[in-house]
């Protein structure tokens, strides 16, 4: 009798009983093969088995690209808070600071608009953003905010550089300062208003993270650009906002519960770690810079870069949290359990 594969021979002994045949069922058996190039992430070895369909993510990964979107989160904050700094500088007679920040604001918002359009799947349709106004969509609200803010910032910068139409320039500066804080913070609602665990579950603190991060970046850059004689107010502002950003970010991370680990692992972990270091060192350097232009500039650039990395870190953590089904499933399971326990208590 030729050697026949036991599994293909009719009824050949029960060397491999049916319940030991390799299946996808729980228990021993080879893990399922992965789709080539994996449309979705797979299970990582050595981790507790999360309960989901073949350990696949429940959520779809955001399709927003880097550096476009995290870059916009940062630049929008920079220009938004920067517009307030420009107006305050102008009001208090700090001409150089007002001038340089106005130019920076216009550049930042120009880059922002480019990044936002660049990230669209259909760039030619970017004007559809202004087709409707929906308060249920932070992106719609933001589009309208930018539609007012960008021309104001551009007008302020052009008037400043050309020295013409000063009344319009002053109005544009004031308008930009009025809209700036909203531009700097609405993006927190934008990313929190998703099912992404590392973003949504931090939604009560995220606006304050973004607010402080925006002020940090604007103050930091102002410290680097303005002469010592004019950057006095930015010294405490940059140092304190940097420290506030650090503390608020930690508080926001805590709020995300299980998904907090995404802020400490992988690329997001590296970014957040570097951000922390830069914010602490930058704040210390800024606070102790005395009247040294170099030290102020170094401290300012450190907190500025720290703020930039915070935004990129938050972006990466959110993406990563969608790829782990347990961050979606576990909190929901707990909620269901608590609710059914509560119901039993209610009856008893």
């Amino acid at each position: 009798m030729p050697n026949v594969d036991a599994t293909t021979t009719n009824g050949t002994s029960r060397a491999r009983p049916l319940d030991e045949v390799m299946t996808g069922a729980n228990g021993p058996g080879a893990p399922p093969l992965r789709v080539e190039g994996g449309r979705r992430g797979g299970k990582r070895s050595g981790e507790p088995t999360p309960r989901s369909y073949y350990d696949l993510p429940v959520l779809n990964k955001p399709v927003w690209g880097a550096p476009d979107i995290p870059g916009y989160l940062f630049l929008g904050g920079l220009a938004g808070a920067g517009a307030v700094v420009s107006a305050a500088a102008q009001l208090t007679g700090r001409r150089e600071l007002a001038r340089s920040t106005k130019v920076v604001n216009a550049g930042a918002i120009g880059l922002s608009l480019f990044a936002l359009v660049h990230d669209l799947g259909r760039r030619g349709r970017f004007l559809n953003m202004l087709r409707v106004f929906k308060v249920t969509s932070p992106m719609s609200v933001g589009s309208w905010l930018l539609a007012g803010f960008a021309p104001a910032v551009a007008g302020a910068a052009i008037s400043e550089l050309t020295g013409r139409v000063k009344p319009i320039g002053a109005m544009a500066t004031a308008g930009a300062a009025a809209l700036g804080p909203a531009v700097a913070t609405y993006t927190a609602a934008l990313i929190s208003d998703t099912a992404v665990p590392a973003w949504h579950d931090g939604h009560t603190v995220m606006p304050f993270v973004f607010a402080s991060s925006a002020v940090t970046s604007a103050a930091g850059l102002g410290l680097a650009l303005a002469p010592v004689a004019e950057s006095g107010p930015l010294k405490p502002l940059g140092a304190l906002a940097g420290l506030a950003e650090l503390g608020l970010t930690k508080a926001m991370e805590k709020k995300t519960g299980l998904a907090e680990t995404t802020y400490h692992e992988g690329r997001a972990g590296m970014l957040m770690g570097a951000s922390e270091l830069l914010l602490v060192c930058g704040a210390a350097l800024t606070a102790t810079s005395g009247r040294s232009r170099t030290r102020r500039a170094a401290g300012g650039m450190a907190v500025f870069t720290g703020s930039l990395l915070t935004r990129f870190g938050i972006f990466e953590a959110g993406n990563a949290s969608t790829q782990r089904p347990e961050y979606t499933v576990e909190p929901q399971r707990r909620r269901v359990k608590d609710r059914s326990n509560g119901r039993e208590d209610g009856r008893g």
Partner: protein
């Protein structure tokens, strides 16, 4: 009364999904009831959907995940049949929709305790749809049938709906840039036809009809299964008081939702948006306050002196 129901706010669409969107004399809300207890995993729904809607091919992979080679819902898979192999008795898979089986299926029948769950997943057409809420262009809209549909001539591919969906349904199509998902065959509904997947389903696992009627039918089916000892049977997305206001496409499952890759208790993210806006307003004011305080504290610039 659930937590979800008490958390209702003015962003809520209520149960009259089409009426709340401004339709007058809208037809009854239409939906799917997918009874997975009679799904045989034939994938006719996947094929019919692809053909009718001209959904492009998106890779012919062998995944090793039982008979599932489409992995999950995506821009190019609008019906997805999940295959789950479990070491549990098969008794739960009594079919016989039109009456009791000849004799109850016993554990001994169940191939030594191996059961095979199959379930055809689809867009849930939520009453409170996050994708629809966050869409900035108005491309996603509520139809007169209460379903949620993308207008491909409006969508600019901003991608906001993708992370907003608590089920991981809607996605961006590579090389196209726009987002795509189940339309509940809006074009067929308009002429009184049923969606392609329901039409092709040989066991009526996918049932199409007015949502009210489907809910009643599902309740009867659940009671029937429970009376036959299938204690695992449960409805998913049936409850209008859940976190999405009830699904327009709901399911009868034979295990926990997450086993099928479904979130156990999804809540539409926009329920928290009113409080987010309030906090954004406070945070924005704090920016003004912080900068204002810093400059007020330092006083007016005195030409060179600090």
């Amino acid at each position: 009364m659930s937590i979800a129901a008490s958390a209702r706010n003015r962003f809520d669409n209520g149960q009259d999904a089409a009426g709340a969107s401004g339709y007058r004399d809208a037809p009854p809300r239409m939906g799917f009831f997918t009874d997975t207890s009679v799904c045989i995993g034939c994938k006719a729904c996947e094929v019919a959907c692809k053909e009718w809607n001209r959904v492009p091919e998106d890779g012919l992979d062998f995944t090793g995940m039982s008979y599932d080679n489409t992995v999950g819902l995506s821009a190019d898979t609008w019906r997805h049949v999940a295959f789950i192999e479990q070491r549990k008795p098969l008794a739960a898979q009594v079919t016989g929709r039109d009456g009791p089986a000849e004799r109850p299926v016993t554990v001994e029948d169940a191939a030594e305790g191996l059961r095979w769950l199959m379930s055809s997943d689809v867009c849930k057409h939520c009453t409170e749809a996050a994708c629809l809420d966050v869409c900035p262009t108005g491309s996603l809209f509520r139809t007169e049938f209460g379903t949620v549909v993308v207008q491909e001539d409006i969508c600019n591919g901003c991608g906001y709906c993708v992370p907003a969906c608590p089920f991981g349904v809607i996605d961006q199509r590579h090389g196209d840039g726009r987002v795509w998902k189940c339309t509940l065959c809006y074009d067929r509904l308009g002429v009184g036809a049923e969606p392609a997947c329901a039409k092709s389903c040989p066991t009526d696992s996918i049932q199409f009809g007015p949502l009210d009627e489907l809910r009643q039918r599902a309740d009867r089916r659940l009671a029937q299964l429970h009376s036959r000892g299938v204690a695992d049977a449960r409805l998913y997305g049936r409850d209008p008081a859940d976190g999405i206001g009830g699904a327009g496409a709901f399911f009868l499952l034979l295990d926990e939702p997450e086993v099928y890759g479904l979130p156990p208790d999804p809540v539409v993210t926009t329920r928290d948006l009113p409080s987010m806006w309030k906090l954004v307003a406070v945070a924005a004011s704090s920016v003004l306050l912080a900068v204002g305080t810093a400059f007020a504290g330092a006083g007016r610039h005195q030409g060179g002196a600090r």
